[in-house]
Structures are given as structure tokens and as C-alpha cells.
């Protein structure tokens, strides 16, 4: 009779999964891929910080950055600022994806992005602009 045996295996499997879920107290972020994205974003921040402060660039509700006020950037520099924004968003997308992957849960990418979106905004300096949940720009 396989009935008790099968039931036992099922219960053990369920407990094993529950234990895995409970063990997940911290997210893994110490991987070479994440470290190098972090370093790349950190070195770019020197150029982005004045743009946040002037309101030219703001933090979006979906965890990216965007050109908010092009007129705050001299025409000659607009191309460069757009490239900066594109590079930053590329790194951010890769960061969210890498954190999900480092934790063996690629399907968490959007949750991680949403978490970061909130945290970037709540840790932003006074005077910086961010998008509220409706998508309108708000000055912090």
C-alpha cells in the first residue's frame, strides 16, 4: 500500500518548502553583478545629483529616473543628460533583475522594482522631484 508512504513524502516536501520560506530573512545582494552595477550607479551619481537638485531630472514612480524639466538643462547639454538618464535606467533595470535572480526568484523583479521606487523617493533629498502614484511631479 503506497498511501501512507506517499502522504509522508508529501508532508515532508511541504515542510521543506515552508522551512525555505522562513529561512529567507534577508535578500542576497552580495554578488559581483550587483556590486558592479552599484559601483557604476554610484559613480554616475556625481553627475546626476545636480540634475536632481535643479529639478531637471526626477525620480519616477516606477523606480527609474526621467527628464522632468528640459528647460533646466542648457541646450548644448541636453543630449548628454538624456544619455545619462538612459544609462542610469539601464543599470537600474539590471539591478532589479539581478537581485531577483541572485535570490533564485526572477519573478520578484517587479516587486523589487516597486520596493526600490518607494525607497528612492523616501530617501531623496529635500528639493528633489518625484512622481506621486498618479504620475504627477511633486517637489520634496
Amino acid at each position: 500500500m503506497t498511501f501512507p508512504g506517499f502522504l509522508f513524502v508529501s508532508v515532508v516536501a511541504a515542510l521543506g518548502h515552508a522551512a525555505t520560506a522562513l529561512a529567507q530573512v534577508n535578500l542576497e545582494i552580495n554578488t559581483p553583478a550587483i556590486a558592479s552595477l552599484q559601483a557604476s550607479m554610484q559613480s554616475r551619481h556625481g553627475q546626476l545629483a545636480p540634475l536632481y537638485a535643479s529639478g531637471a531630472v526626477g525620480l519616477t514612480r516606477d523606480g527609474n529616473v526621467a527628464l522632468r524639466d528640459a528647460s533646466a538643462v542648457p541646450l548644448a547639454q541636453r543630449q548628454q543628460v538624456n544619455a545619462l538618464i538612459a544609462a542610469e535606467n539601464q543599470d537600474r533595470a539590471a539591478l532589479y533583475r539581478e537581485i531577483a535572480r541572485a535570490n533564485g526568484r526572477p519573478e520578484w523583479e517587479q516587486d523589487i522594482r516597486a520596493t526600490f521606487a518607494q525607497r528612492w523617493i523616501s530617501r531623496a533629498a529635500p528639493g528633489w522631484y518625484y512622481q506621486n502614484p498618479a504620475g504627477a511631479w511633486v517637489r520634496k
Binding site: M1, T2, F3, F6, L7, V9, S10, V11, A13, A14, H17, A18, T20, A21, Q24, V25, N26, L27, I29, I34, Q38, M41, Q42, H45, A53, L95, I99, W108, D111, I112, T115, F116, Q118, R119, W120, R123, A125, P126, G127
Partner: protein
């Protein structure tokens, strides 16, 4: 004979239910852990931890989460 068959069926159903339980448990997203991880990365990227950055006076180390 017949009752053994039913028992086997029930065992099958129990197994499926247990496996479904696993899936449900694993969908859980650790929101608090994700916030902590995000904050650690943001500290690095925006250089908020080193004493310098005057624009980023932190209110209190503990936030209610």
C-alpha cells in the same frame, strides 16, 4: 479492493494539495527584507552613510516598517 482504490485516489489528491501548498508558500515576497536590501544599496549609490552629505540628515535609525 474498492476502498483501496479510493484510498489511493485520496492519497493522490492529498499529494497535489501539498504541492499546491508549496507553491503558495513560495510566492510570498519578503517585503521588509527587500526594503532593507534597497536601503543598503541606496546608501551606497547615493553615499548616504559616510558623514559628508549635508543634504541627507537622517531622522532616526529605526523606522517603523
Amino acid at each position: 479492493m474498492r476502498s483501496q482504490r479510493i484510498a489511493a485516489r485520496l492519497a493522490g489528491l492529498a499529494g497535489v494539495a501539498a504541492l499546491a501548498g508549496c507553491v503558495t508558500i513560495n510566492i510570498y515576497f519578503p517585503a521588509a527584507a527587500a526594503e532593507k536590501a534597497a536601503d543598503r544599496i541606496i546608501d551606497e549609490v547615493w553615499q548616504l552613510k559616510e558623514g559628508g552629505a549635508p543634504a541627507t540628515v537622517k531622522p532616526a535609525p529605526k523606522e517603523t516598517k
